[in-house]
Symmetry: C2
DNA sequence: ATAATCAACTAACAACTGTTAGTTTGGGAT
DNA sequence: ATCCCAAACTAACAGTTGTTAGTTGATTAT
């Protein structure tokens, strides 16, 4: 098996608790108890509660940014790019549903790294918006309200962390495909 | 003007702070300071911090449940029912974006009323699922994965509280219509 | 004028918070 | 055997938490 460091175990345990109750409601004693040790012992491995949150969120945010860079520079149709964005979200979320809860709900408690996170996030949204605008110009997607399309798709993808754990039998690949179908074609007959 | 009670002012102020930082990170002293009084003075009007959260969330949850009852018993097409659900969300959210943040993110801190909230929520989801299943049977909507359609639409509607404040110039009616268009027809040409 | 009510106040509480300092334990390398 | 070191421990801290008790001043009703 992979030799997981103690610090990584702490972060994983914390992420799970953060998903259940939110960052502020989880105490260092909660995290320690979940690991079977005392709160003070955590500080042999991490420097602060803040740092745990930062490690959870920033690595995920950077993974999304990096994934988007590849998608936007690829030579593919708009529909294919949207499908790639869906796949990116499903795959990252499927392998870290706990962390995604913090990314969505606890980023405001990042303090020093908060502005950095927000810049990654708005860059990501801008890139996605550009993909949709380009698709309209090229007449590859429908010419309706871009902001509404952007909002609708991103909201769905950002909520994946809540649904994936409830459908464990579905593989990421299957989910990506049915999700793309619904987002691209809607529910109309 | 409407004669707003002091208790209602407290709830409104608290909801605003809860949206920014989450229930657990907001202290009674934060709420009091935002109102220009001391924390202990709040207790002349409310009985506990818990009660504030309960008042915010339960009234909203019951409004959704009540709205859904009317939609499901109406004699209209599946598409019309989905449009009605969209409208229900847009209208409730538009007039209380702060409260909707608590409903989405802080319901786990409800304690005594938590189970009641969860029962309202799962009843609501069941009703919506039934509408979609009926639509497939009647061949009014596409026969793809119901759970994915349900998840996609509900995720978008539940995230409205984050987007409506950023587009103040859009009326609820206009938003409902463009949202319905995108959710029903997708983005494909 | 007097009484009652509302809504603020000060002071204090016991419990809990993140974190630090210093110490102990047990296994692996020398 | 001895040393080293990772990783646990106990004890304690200063600050913050929700909440209670009792008081005061202003407005309203009698």
């Amino acid at each position: 098996m992979k030799p997981e460091t103690r610090k990584e175990e702490i972060i994983k345990t914390a992420a799970k608790l953060f998903k259940e109750k939110g960052y502020s409601a989880v105490t260092m004693r909660d995290i320690a108890t979940a690991m079977g040790i005392k709160a003070a012992s955590l500080y042999n491995h991490i420097s602060s509660k803040q740092e745990i949150l930062k490690d959870i969120i920033i690595s995920l945010a950077e993974a999304f940014t990096q994934g988007m860079q590849q998608i936007k520079t690829a030579e593919s149709s708009t529909i294919q790019k949207v499908e790639a964005v869906v796949k990116l979200h499903v795959e990252i979320t499927a392998q870290n549903t706990y962390g995604m809860a913090s990314l969505n709900n606890d980023w405001m408690h990042l303090e020093e790294k908060r502005d950095y996170y927000l810049s990654l996030r708005s860059g990501y949204e801008s890139d996605f918006r550009s993909i949709l605008l380009e698709g309209i110009k090229r007449k590859e997607i429908t010419n309706s309200n871009v902001e509404v399309m952007l909002f609708s798709i991103l909201s769905t993808l950002r909520s994946l962390y809540l649904w994936i754990p409830k459908k464990e039998d579905v593989t990421p690949d299957t989910l990506s495909k049915s999700l793309s179908t619904v987002l691209i074609n809607g529910i109309n007959k």
